[in-house]
């Protein structure tokens, strides 16, 4: 593989990780808003308990993504930076409000409800703005003369809304599936029932929006639609993973008194589904980073920098992986935390 393919694959891996973590994180914020703590179910509380220690780590993945793109594809920064100034700046403002208020949430009881609303609303807006990058990169929305974004065209194009619907639906679907699993870990069957129900509704909806997006894409970015159709095999595998996961939410437990479903199996299948589909989307997007002006090969960094970056990744990961494992055990497995209260 060439440097460029290695670089784009690593970048893809980070996009994928952030898409999963971000979906769960922003989705949990939204569910925390929908589920008022005064209501009977503790669903909102479960969502918040997961969110408190993890949002910082999730945020670092976003920064990792930005830095990785700068480091691996420096020659893409000028067109990307100019084209994405508007959605990028909006994401920054919303993200700042969200993070700040989420931390404040735990320190000031008086402002609880305002803070919950901020976290819930931004939990929908930020992913929408992030997802908008996809149609922009697929071409047609950046003025080739000035590199500026054609906002009017973007907002009047149906495919934009298809991407939005797909992005939001998969965010909420993934987070519901994750929180179902997390509630099971916390042995909270009422919260489990709530999140399982949402996952069941949102799953087919997500699939439908995905098909709609590919259909509408044909008008805006025909090249991408054609490439995607060539990657059919991967999308088929992805659909199979989805069906398997979906059915796992219906499997019966041995203990008849427990709620139906194996949320851990389901969530793992959904991640697999996501991985397969986003791999196929990424492969279909090649060789372009930004259509039609910028290919991956043209924008990759020099070999000396590339090699040093790889070494720094290897060393950094070797140091961090034990930290991640320890973190996971403390907050996602330890009954004293997960099942508290």
């Amino acid at each position: 593989m060439s440097d460029a393919i290695w670089a784009i694959s690593i970048t893809w891996l980070f996009v994928f990780i952030y898409a999963i973590l971000g979906s769960v994180d922003f989705g949990a914020g939204f569910w925390g808003l929908v589920y008022n703590p005064r209501e009977r179910s503790r669903a909102g509380e479960i969502a918040n308990r997961f969110l408190s220690p993890t949002w910082e780590v999730t945020n670092v993945f976003l920064v990792l993504l930005v830095v990785t793109i700068v480091a691996f594809f420096p020659r893409a920064i000028a067109p990307l930076g100019t084209g994405l100034l508007i959605p990028g700046s909006l994401v920054l403002i919303l993200l700042t409000l969200r993070s700040a208020f989420m931390v404040f949430h735990y320190s000031a009881l008086r402002f609880r409800s305002t803070l919950r609303i901020v976290s819930g609303v931004t939990g929908l807006l930020i992913p929408s703005l992030l997802v908008i990058a996809l149609p922009i990169l697929a071409g047609g929305f950046i003025d080739p003369e000035t590199d500026r974004l054609l906002v009017g065209k973007l907002l009047s194009s149906p495919v934009t809304y298809a991407y939005l619907a797909f992005g939001l639906s998969s965010e909420l679907f993934l987070s519901a599936a994750f929180l179902a699993d997390y509630s099971r870990e916390a042995e909270d069957s009422s919260a489990y029932a709530v999140f399982r129900k949402y996952a069941l509704w949102l799953g087919p909806f997500t699939l439908a929006t995905a098909v709609l997006t590919v259909y509408l894409m044909g008008r805006q970015a025909e090249w991408l639609r054609d490439h995607i159709l060539e990657e059919q095999g991967w999308f088929l595998l992805s659909a199979i993973a989805f069906l398997l996961g979906y059915s796992a939410l219906w499997w019966r437990r041995k203990h008849p008194e427990r709620e139906r479903g194996f949320p851990r199996v389901a969530f793992v299948c959904f991640i697999l589904q996501f991985a397969l589909a986003s791999y196929a989307y990424g492969a279909a997007h090649l060789p372009y980073l930004v259509y039609p002006t910028l290919t991956v090969e043209e924008s990759v960094t020099n070999p000396a920098m590339f090699d040093s970056l790889l070494i720094s990744y290897a060393v950094g990961m070797a140091i961090l992986v034990p930290g991640f494992i320890y973190f996971w055990r403390l907050f996602l497995k330890d009954k004293r935390y997960v099942g508290r209260g």
Binding site: P74, A78, G81, F111
Partner: protein, 447 residues
Amino acid sequence: MDDLTIARTLFGSSLGFHIIFATLGVGLPLMIFVSEVFYQVTNDRRYTLMAKRWTKAQAILLGVAIPSGTIVAVQMSLLWPQFMEMVGEVIALPFQIELFAFFLEALFMSIYVYAADRLSPGLRILSVFLVAFGGSASAVLITSANAWMNTPTGFQPTEGGITGVRPWEAFFNPSFASSAFHVLISAYMTGAFVVASIAAYRLLRRKLSQSEIRYHHRALMMSLAIGGTMSLITAFTGHWAGQVLHDHQPEKLAAAEGLFETQSHAPLALGGIVDLDEQKITGAIEIPGLLSFLAGNRLDTVVKGLNDYPRDVWPPGYVHLLFNLMVGSGVLLILLSALAGWFGWRRKGDRLPQWLLWTLTSTGPLAVLAIEFGWIFTCSGRQPWTIYRFQRTADAATQAGDLWVWLVLFLSLYMLLLIATVVIMSSYFKRHPLAEELEAVVAEGNG
């Protein structure tokens, strides 16, 4: 304002905002770490209480430090795309490695805050050490990138771009060591003085129980000792940074000192206003020969003046003021901590006199201001270059228009967050008064 000026204002404000929280994110963990260690050594539970309360404050500050840092990181690509292209080609390593430092800090901060009750003492100290280490490492790493902008190395400029990139040489550029030390130590100093300010302010209140007084007094003395030591080291590292300027960025040193004619036995100008058009400095106290001595350790060191350089690469005249304000704050803080130390030693554990406590409440804000002056000095003193003698700021800026909208939005956001931070901080500590927590701790200690 034209778009370039707006971009500079916007970016400078974002950094000026981030640096407040970022500096405390480097300085406070050191204080927390020291008090955790003190607790292990003395077994006095008041030290864990200090660590606990400072951690709470730090957790609130992180809620702003992290997103504001994210803003800075993304805004760099949005506002200075041509500059970031160079960063990616030559100086991507510190940015990349910094992420590992952020991960370390974020992971162990969550662990320290949300799992403290489940950790053994050893693991608790290890976690807070890793938080402090992660914060310090990120400061050193980002400084490497900034130092490279001042003294770029590790590549060859050619017609069509650059070749011969040597990433590690760029990383360890000529001003890296001096800047990194100066930034790190000045952050420790600032963290300590902010704690000192708060302790001094608390001690000013009339109605305090004996144990509250002892608690605050201890915190005050501890932070003044750390802050005082660090401010001395800051002065030495700053002196070193100045000598690096003399060797590698002579225009910046000349502008900082308002020196127009190249000369040996150059005087040090204290205060005054530099007028670039008239080529003179008015109202300054000049100490003969001192600048030459500081720059090269000898009175006959020749210091370059601005007239040796074309007018269009002169830094702005106001950097002289910024430089003086930074150095002045540093000197003042050294003197203040020495004074307080002397009183503290004479009075053996009693409260310091009111007037001194009042004066000491200013140390934290003063140190934060010094940080701001120092950074604006470094960045503005590099003008008109973004990458010294290689890329002009005007050539680095984005072509996207209508930046003023973002300037207004981001400035409003920073105001909102500043106010919110203060409100949340005071509301939290009102609901968790020291008196109650102290009582609990003392009771536990006796039981």
